[in-house]
Structure formats: structure tokens, C-alpha cells
Amino acid sequence: MKNRMKKLVVLLAATSMVVQLAGCGGGTGSAPADEAKADTPAATQETEAEAPAKADDTAAASEEEITITIWHQSVADTDPVKKIIEESVTEYHELHPNVTIEQDGVTGEQYKTKIKTAFAAGEAPDISYMFSGGSFVKPYIDAGYLLPIDDYLSPDTKSKVLPGTLDGCTFDGKVYTLPTITFLANLYCNTEMFDAAGAKIPTNWDELLDAVEKLNAAGYTPILMGEKDRWPGMYWYDIISARTASNAAIMEAFGDPAKFNSEGFIMGAQKLQELVKANAFNDNMMSMSYDEMIEGFAAGQGAMVFQANWVHPAFQADTAATKGKVTCVPFPVIADGAGSITEFSGGSSDGYYINANCEHPKEAVEYLEYLSEKIGIVGYQQGAGLPCWDTTGVDTSSLTPLDTESAALMETGTSYISWWDNILSAEDSETYKDLVAQVMALKITPEEFAEQMSKLQPSEFY
């Protein structure tokens, strides 16, 4: 277990990146942030010397009735975090009778719309969920809407968070949130179909192609792909290029996109097209949604899917045809590629961020510490994701075989890169996903793809 934690540390340190390095360039970012500070003196203006005094003030007034609002996207019963948040509301009120937590949530598109509108109109909650850090949260920080929490964090918390995991929560040198759980993408294989087709679970590219051929011959769809939503295809290019170009080269290219126009990235696109030409994907991939892909795999419509470990509940549901028949493996290596099997895709952490206008920043941070740890540990126990907190002595008997398998895979990792749409700007993410879709539809050549990618803006994170 200890070993696993160490790996995780490497993982988060690597993915989370680097924000500090890029921080200096953020001239546009700092100006509005200062303005926001002016609006909220209580929140951010104190110097380090004033901070303890401030803390005392609030401690004296701690009997005052306080309401803290939190918005999140864990609303469905299928999401273990839903229960954790709901329980945290009652538990926290018992622990701190003067603090009432009001939680509200909705998922996906609706959450994005809601949170953006609320922030733009100045009606955002005290604490809000932000999609796994990175570029989603950056505009909010640049606009000065979110509160750096360095001054409020207790040393105790910092010691319980796995070392290095805070890096992903740090932007421009300031800590904005605490890590919770993290996700890693792996290749999920339906063992029943592999056996029936006489195929071997692939460890390298040739074996993958061989498996595709055998599965096709046996009448199975080798790989399910929900490219209607475009990000499932992105995951494939993310990992293939980690194999052909290596994570190190990807990181360099984020900082200098001209480097996307190089052999490793062209080869990645070629490999993806190789799979398309080998009929590896379902014919209707362009109209299949993410949901149809995941539920289709769970219903036994395809033999492989490349996704993050949040799909476990679907694959192991009592009603799923795949229950007990799924194994997860690292993405196969590619012989001539520069990457190795220990380079992973994923690793960033979802987080909850505090509003710069929050009236009770101290209490909000205390709740954030409480909630983040709870999600990190209980969420891990319930298979929601992999922990970013010290789980020494935590009972892991509730983990399912898939959870254990994916956690074990993580131990082997040497390098991690988050999904690219977390790293590229909102606009470039759209461009990238569209380009991958065009590669998969064989509408553009690998060379054209690389050429287009080289025109992206340098990422703020690398």
C-alpha cells in the first residue's frame, strides 16, 4: 500500500504540473485577480503577519451562525461521492453546530452552464466543484473569482495530503484547493470474448492488432468507441501518443506546439488510423455517445474500451453482462515508439474551490479540508477513484477486483499526463478533439493532423 502511495505522489507531482513555472507569464491573469481582492478585503488582502490575527478574530466569533453553500456534480446514486457529500453535510453540522452546509448539484453540461452563469453574475456559491483542475478552472482563477487558501490551510491537513499532490491544486504559486481522488485511464478487456475468440490480452501493438483480427473473426466488435461526444477518441490519441512520442515529448509540445509537428505525433495518428482500417472500432462510432459506449460494453457489445477507472460501477453492476468478466491492463506498448508501458494518461484530481467573495473563508476552508479528505479516503474505499490522501491503515476490503487491479497498475507508473483537454485552453481543446475525430474518420492524414496541432497556443501549464 505504501508503495502505491509513493507512486501516486510521483503521478500527481508530474501531472499537476508545472503551473508554478507557467505562472510568471500570467500578466493578464493577475490584474483582474487584484481587482477581485479589492472587493473582498477580508478574503485575500491580509499579509502573512495579519493572517493569524484575523484567524483569532473569527475564532472569537465562531458561535455566529454561518451558512456555507457548495455546488457539485455528484447527484446521481451511481456516483459514490453523492453520498459522501450528503453525509458530510449532516456530520459537519454535528461537529460544528454553528455551521450549516447547503449543497446543490447537477451533472455535466448543465453544471458547466450553471456554474459559469453564476460566477459571471456574481451569484456563485462559497465552494464549487471544478472539473479536474487544469484549464477548466484557470479562467475562473484568472478572473479573480477564486480564493487562494494558503493562509488558511492547517499544517495538519498538509501533512495528511500525499506529498506532491498539492501541486495540482497550485496555480501561479498559490494553493487554491485540496486534492480528493484521481483517475487513471486503462484498457478494459472483456475476458469472456477474448477467450471465445482465442485472443490474447494485448501487451503490445502487434498483439492488439492480432486480437482485433481474432475478435473480428469471431464476430465481436473489438473496440467500442463513443466518438459522438469526441472526448473518448481524444483519450485514445492521448495514450497512443504517450506510446509513440512519450510523455516527455508531449509535455514539451504543450509548451511549444510547433513540436507537435514531429515524427512521434504523426506516428500516433498513423497508429490510430491503423486501428480504424483494421475495423477495430464499431461502425457507428461517430454516432455513439459516451453513455452508449460504456453501457454497451457493460451489455457485452464490444471486447475493449479505453477509459478511466470511473467506469467501474457500470462494468460491475449486478445487471451488467460484464460483471466479473472484465480485466484492466495498461495500454499496449508500440515497438518503434519512444514511450514505455509505465507512462499513463490521467492522474489529475477533481477539486472544490472557494469563492473569492466568500464571507467566511476560514470556515469554508475548514469544511473543504474535511470534505476533501473524506472524498479522498471514503471515495477510494467505495471505488470512486484513487486516493490523494494518506490511506495508511484504511480498510480496503470493500474494493472490487477491478478497483484493486487499476490501483495496482498505478503503482507501476513512472509518468502521468492528464487528459489533454485539461491542459489545452477551452478553444484549443475543441480544436484538438475535432482533429482527432477527423483522423478517426480518415478525413485528414497524420501529417495534416500534426501540422494543425502545431498551430495551437502554448499551454499555460507547460
Binding site: 459571471a120 478572473a143 464499431n282 457507428n284 461517430m286
Partner: protein, 293 residues
């Protein structure tokens, strides 16, 4: 009478609440949007005023032009396929001897069902793997016609239009049906006595008398078509490769996915103006027609 009907206080009392609510909830937000449309703004931080630059960029934006083409095509389908079907059904149902009430009631049902349900249903109908449509083709031994209806560029646009067209056929049918029923029976009797057959009656009597109702349907249909969003968004999300994108979807993605609030607002103002201009043109068209008659 005239004096009573010119009661200023009553007019104020009757009209002001409506005008006020429309001003606050509709007109003011339109003006705010118009202001946003002149900003270079991500919707979060501070925007920069750029005047009409967003509109100028729209003019040269291929994706935008393509989305307009798509929505105009949809307008065409609405006006020249959906409405004629509605009209045909209305005439037939209005003249049917038995089951008139049953038909007019059931035909309206899709209108009252939530778009979420309709979207889910059509996704299952079109599913390239196990969809109903492909299954039907299979059972008719037309396997060569089976395809991924929403996933390929050649069929996606039409496939995404059909559920929309279908859902509102009953809506327009009901309005037209009502129009037909309100035509005095004596007119029909007179036509029958003159020896007109049912087709002649339809074209020479019913349709001309229905013109005001048709104008309403055409207007509603036109505005609805230019604002079409939900079902296409659920079915294809504008894809594959923007082939099914309409201006409202492009606007939504620009604002909420790409964080270009200013540019997206310019699209929304364009949509409002587009609706307005088309409605005016329709008015002129129908007025001219009336004068010719």
C-alpha cells in the same frame, strides 16, 4: 361604446403588466446581449469593447455560414414538407366520417411529450448497431440500406431533422384543422352543388379560405425552425464534423464550451434579427397575395 373602449386607465391597467414583464425579462436581456456582442469577453473576467468586430468576423466564419445554411434547409423542410403533411392530415381528419376526435387527439400527442423522451427514442431508432430503423430494413431484406444514420455526414442532417419535423406535425395539423372546421358548412354545400369533387374543394375552397391560418402556421414554423436546438443537440450535438450544426448550437458551444461569450452573443443577436426579418418578409408576402386575390 367608443368612449368606454378608449378608457386610458383601463388600457394602462390591461397592457402595462404584460409590457413591463416583457421589458424586464425579454427586452432588457436582449439589450444586455447586444452589449455583450460588442465585447471580446470570455464570460468571466473583464471584457474589451471591440465594436462590431464580432459581427465582421461572423461574416467570414465558414462554420457559421454552414450553420445558417443548415437552418435554412430546415426552414425549407418545415415549410414545404412538414406543413403540407400537416395540411393534408388536417383536411383528411376534418372530413373523415368516423374517429375524427380520436385522430385529432392522438396526432397531437408527440407535441406534449418532453424533448428528452423524444431524443432518447430517436437515438434508439437510428442506432447504427441495433436501431429500429436498421432492424426494419433488415426484415425487409434491404440490408444494403442499413447504415449509421446519425454518424455519417451524408445522412446525419436529414436524420436529425426528421424527428423535429415529425414531432410538430400534429401541432400545425391541429391549428389547421381548427381553421378548416371554422369554415362555414354552407360554403362546402355550395361547392358540392356546383359539382366540385373533394380535391377541387380542397384546392379551390378550403386552402384559399385557410390563408390566415396558414400564415400563422408558417410564421410559427419559421421562427421555430430558426431557433431549433434541443433535439438536434441531443441527437448529434452538431456533429459529425459540424454537418448538423445550426446557429443556436454553434452559439451554445461558443459561449459555454469555447468561452467566447462576446462572439456567441453576436450569433444570438443575429438569430433574433434573422427571425424578425423573415417574419416581416412573410407578412409582406402574405399581404401581396391578399391584394392579388
Amino acid at each position: 361604446m367608443k368612449k368606454i373602449l378608449s378608457n386610458k386607465k383601463a388600457i394602462t391597467l390591461f397592457v402595462c403588466p404584460t409590457i413591463l414583464i416583457m421589458l424586464v425579462i425579454v427586452v432588457v436581456p436582449i439589450f444586455i446581449s447586444a452589449y455583450y456582442s460588442m465585447l471580446d469577453w470570455d464570460g468571466l473576467g473583464k471584457g474589451t469593447f471591440v465594436g462590431l468586430r464580432n459581427y465582421m468576423e461572423l461574416a467570414g466564419d465558414e462554420r457559421f455560414v454552414n450553420s445558417i445554411k443548415n437552418s435554412l434547409l430546415y426552414v425549407f423542410f418545415s415549410l414545404f414538407i412538414q406543413l403540407p403533411i400537416s395540411l393534408l392530415l388536417a383536411i383528411v381528419v376534418a372530413n373523415v366520417k368516423r374517429g375524427e376526435k380520436f385522430y385529432r387527439t392522438t396526432y397531437f400527442i408527440p407535441v406534449i411529450i418532453s424533448g428528452v423522451v423524444i431524443g432518447q427514442l430517436w437515438q434508439k431508432i437510428y442506432n447504427g448497431d441495433y436501431g429500429l430503423l436498421n432492424a426494419l430494413l433488415g426484415s425487409l431484406h434491404l440490408e444494403h440500406l442499413q447504415q449509421d444514420w446519425l454518424g455519417q455526414e451524408s445522412t446525419a442532417l436529414i436524420a436529425a431533422f426528421i424527428p423535429n419535423l415529425w414531432q410538430y406535425v400534429g401541432y400545425h395539423m391541429l391549428i389547421m384543422y381548427a381553421g378548416i372546421k371554422s369554415i362555414s358548412p354552407e360554403i362546402y354545400e355550395a361547392a358540392t352543388i356546383d359539382g366540385a369533387n373533394s380535391r377541387q374543394i380542397a384546392f379551390k375552397v378550403t386552402i384559399p379560405l385557410l390563408k390566415p391560418v396558414l400564415e400563422v402556421c408558417v410564421t410559427f414554423s419559421l421562427i421555430g425552425a430558426l431557433k431549433i436546438f434541443d433535439l438536434i443537440y441531443v441527437l448529434t450535438g452538431g456533429g459529425p464534423f459540424f454537418t448538423t450544426e445550426v446557429p443556436t448550437i454553434y452559439m451554445y458551444k461558443t459561449i459555454f464550451d469555447s468561452f467566447h461569450y462576446g462572439y456567441g452573443s453576436a450569433i444570438s443577436i443575429f438569430i433574433i434579427l434573422e427571425c424578425f426579418v423573415f417574419t416581416m418578409l412573410l407578412k409582406l408576402f402574405f399581404r401581396n397575395k391578399e391584394e392579388q386575390v
